[in-house]
């Protein structure tokens, strides 16, 4: 009776135990999607006992925040990258050719 219960408990524990590889996958997935209940539960159980995955979760959060900051930075007009003048000239000429080409435009590319 007791042995049978222990076996069932062991099996349950085994099902809940996940590796760090799986845990880090779930941490990543949770950034983009809502985890299913079993996934969420497995991850929380794992994190209770694993400081490396706890560090990973925190680092990934910081990484995401930094990428958001960077996105705003690159979309802010205060930080333009200037196209070299000769490249601009080539594009200007290319536009002019296309305009003058009328219906022929694009055919001589």
């Amino acid at each position: 009776m007791f042995g049978k219960m222990k076996k069932q408990l062991d099996r349950l524990m085994m099902r809940m135990m996940i590796t760090c590889e799986k845990a880090s996958y779930l941490i990543s997935k949770s950034q983009d999607e809502k985890l299913t209940f079993p996934e969420h539960f497995q991850l929380r159980m794992h994190l209770l006992g694993c400081r490396f995955c706890r560090a990973y979760e925190k680092d990934i959060g910081i990484l995401s925040d930094n990428i958001q900051d960077w996105k705003h930075y690159i979309e802010d007009e205060g930080h333009p990258i200037h196209m070299p003048g000769e490249e601009k000239q080539k594009i200007r000429e290319h536009i002019r050719e296309q305009q003058n080409g009328g219906d022929q435009a694009g055919k001589d590319d």
Partner: protein, 185 residues
């Protein structure tokens, strides 16, 4: 019909803006330049369809954005993938399979003050993003920079949601490790 600026003026008015937009997204000055040129050419041929519902600049950006997504797709499907190899930071054999490789365990990053050199920091970020293999890079950028939905990315890149989660997972492992080695060290 709304008035558009003379296309001859586009380069001066929007050239740098579009170039900057593309430059940060494709990691290559030559490619950024080509995408800007293609954007102007497409705009030229489509200018009769311009409805004036958005500004001219927004309209040009939307054309460029479409070209960038097409570029990611082509890149991810091309056979000439960079062969840069990345071993996941986990033990691959034995009883401890799937646990962190002891030499590559994540460290908890220290709190970052507001006095850090943002420019230098972003250079590291750009460098780390440039290390991602093309397919990961496209998926990762579409998700975290362009903020496309999972369904949209799967459709564009011809992958399943599980593929997407695995790619995002590996990209994050790689980026985190790159950051730890190049910024927090």
């Amino acid at each position: 019909m709304p008035d558009l600026t003379d296309p001859a003026q586009w380069v001066d008015q929007y050239g740098d803006y579009l170039y900057t937009y593309a430059y940060y997204r494709v990691n290559s000055p030559e490619l950024a330049r080509d995408l800007v040129q293609e954007t102007f050419v497409s705009a030229l041929h489509a200018k009769d369809a311009f409805q004036g519902r958005s500004s001219e600049k927004t309209w040009l950006v939307s054309i460029l954005k479409r070209k960038i997504i097409d570029h990611y797709r082509k890149q991810s499907r091309s056979k000439e993938q960079s062969h840069e190899h990345y071993d996941l930071p986990f033990i691959t054999e034995g009883e401890d399979r799937g646990q962190w490789d002891p030499n590559r365990r994540p460290r908890e990053w220290p709190e970052q003050g507001s006095d850090i050199d943002r420019e230098a920091f972003y250079k590291v970020l750009e460098y780390c993003l440039s290390l991602l293999p093309e397919k990961w890079s496209g998926v990762f950028r579409l998700k975290s920079i362009e903020e496309l939905t999972t369904e949209e990315i799967c459709k564009e890149m011809g992958i399943t949601p599980s593929n997407l989660w695995v790619i995002m997972h590996r990209a994050r492992l790689r980026l985190r490790e790159c950051f730890e080695n190049n910024w927090y060290d």
